[in-house]
């Protein structure tokens, strides 16, 4: 039995798995608020089965609800894109703990776009952070962090799944420390790093055909959340035409002697296969031509 309320704000599998960890450890959950639509979210069904109050509030409704809380309450913000207003952050009866899918203070911002930039920037490692929420975006004191390796064939989806898996593991190990009001965490280093918004997409979503093999490969992998369509398909301007990249394949070098060239194949119904051949390997694109004003 806890002497404070626990409320979860968030969406999807990780929010549900963390809720399940708390219940398995005998904690009582006061409510779960799903703060973003996600048609594959297991939260509605889970809350129904375990009989926890479940809401899908608008941001304004959530602010009203949080303003009304007067008892000591721990808010777990797990893959939650609701931004806490200062009036909520300043409430002394609330302890707000957020999961962020980066090693803060690096890569602050919208969780969905973080894996995109991690891959595009060619990072060799990435990680996750549980931290207290303060009045700015992802700047609160750090409770716990852990890093993982980024492979050179990881896609944005892989990075997101690794982060969710590691974040949930950390939660299961550290949740008792998270809810301890004496645990103030440690302050983040102050940096001037950018905060990534959801619309910040590398090169505005256009593949540049002057890039080298590595850069082109990183760009294609960084926007790849397949099978989910979380971002618009990448595009490319080739030979004066605008193409949408429907599929890609990255084939590292298997033999010596490849030279830079572009090969066009199978021009059918405005769809083409285009191979970019580099000394380091081949990048195959399946593209569809788009009208200039499309």
């Amino acid at each position: 039995m806890n002497f404070f309320n626990i409320v979860i704000l968030g969406v999807g599998k990780m929010a549900k798995d963390c809720a399940a960890i708390l219940l398995e450890n005998g904690m009582r959950l006061h409510a779960v608020h799903e703060t973003e639509k996600n048609e594959f979210s297991p939260l509605p069904g889970f809350c129904s089965r375990v009989k926890i109050a479940f809401q899908q509030p608008t941001a304004n409704e959530l602010t009203t609800y949080l303003s009304s809380l007067s008892e000591p309450t721990i808010l777990f913000s797990i893959n939650n894109n609701y931004l806490f207003p200062q009036s909520i952050v300043k409430k002394e009866n609330l302890r707000i703990i957020n999961f962020h899918n980066s090693l803060l203070p690096r890569y602050r911002g919208h969780g969905r776009v973080i894996p995109v930039w991690v891959i595009f920037n060619g990072e060799s490692h990435h990680g996750v952070t549980w931290h207290l929420v303060d009045e700015n975006t992802d700047t609160g004191n750090i409770l716990c962090q852990r890093k993982f390796k980024v492979s050179n064939d990881d896609t944005a989806l892989n990075i997101m799944m690794k982060a969710i898996g590691l974040g949930t593991k950390l939660f299961s190990e550290c949740w008792k420390e998270f809810i301890n009001p004496e645990n103030k965490g440690h302050p983040q280093k102050r940096t001037s790093e950018r905060v990534y918004g959801l619309k910040d997409i590398p090169n505005d979503g256009y593949l540049d055909i002057s890039w080298d093999f590595d850069m082109m490969a990183r760009f294609l992998r960084c926007l790849d959340y397949e099978p989910f369509s979380l971002f618009p398909l990448p595009q490319a301007k080739i030979g004066g035409k605008l193409y949408q990249i429907k599929k890609y394949q990255i084939i590292p070098k298997r033999s010596q002697g490849l030279k830079n060239k572009i090969q066009y194949k199978n021009d059918l119904n405005n769809e083409k296969e285009i191979d970019f051949v580099f000394p380091e390997g081949i990048i195959k694109l399946q593209v569809k031509e788009r009208p200039r004003n499309g």
């Binding site: 594959f40 979210s41 297991p42 069904g45 989806l157 799944m161 099978p227 989910f228 599929k247």
Partner: protein, 78 residues
Amino acid sequence: MDKLLSILREIRPEHDFAASEDLIFDGLLDSFDIVTLVAKMEEGFGITIRGEDVQYNNFKNLKNIKRLIKRYLKSDEI
């Protein structure tokens, strides 16, 4: 249908998929499972599922998944 069931059982052997009308709500599949399921469906049935078809209604239950596969195969032989 047997092939689809065997793919699902490979992913989550503990569940009775035929008994559920809503695999997501009932907790038999989550978003991670959908990633695996789509990859295994593509490999097992030789199809490529478009991103716009990866939506709740197409994966709600066995009947709907079967309908999706049929649409790609243009055949009843699944």
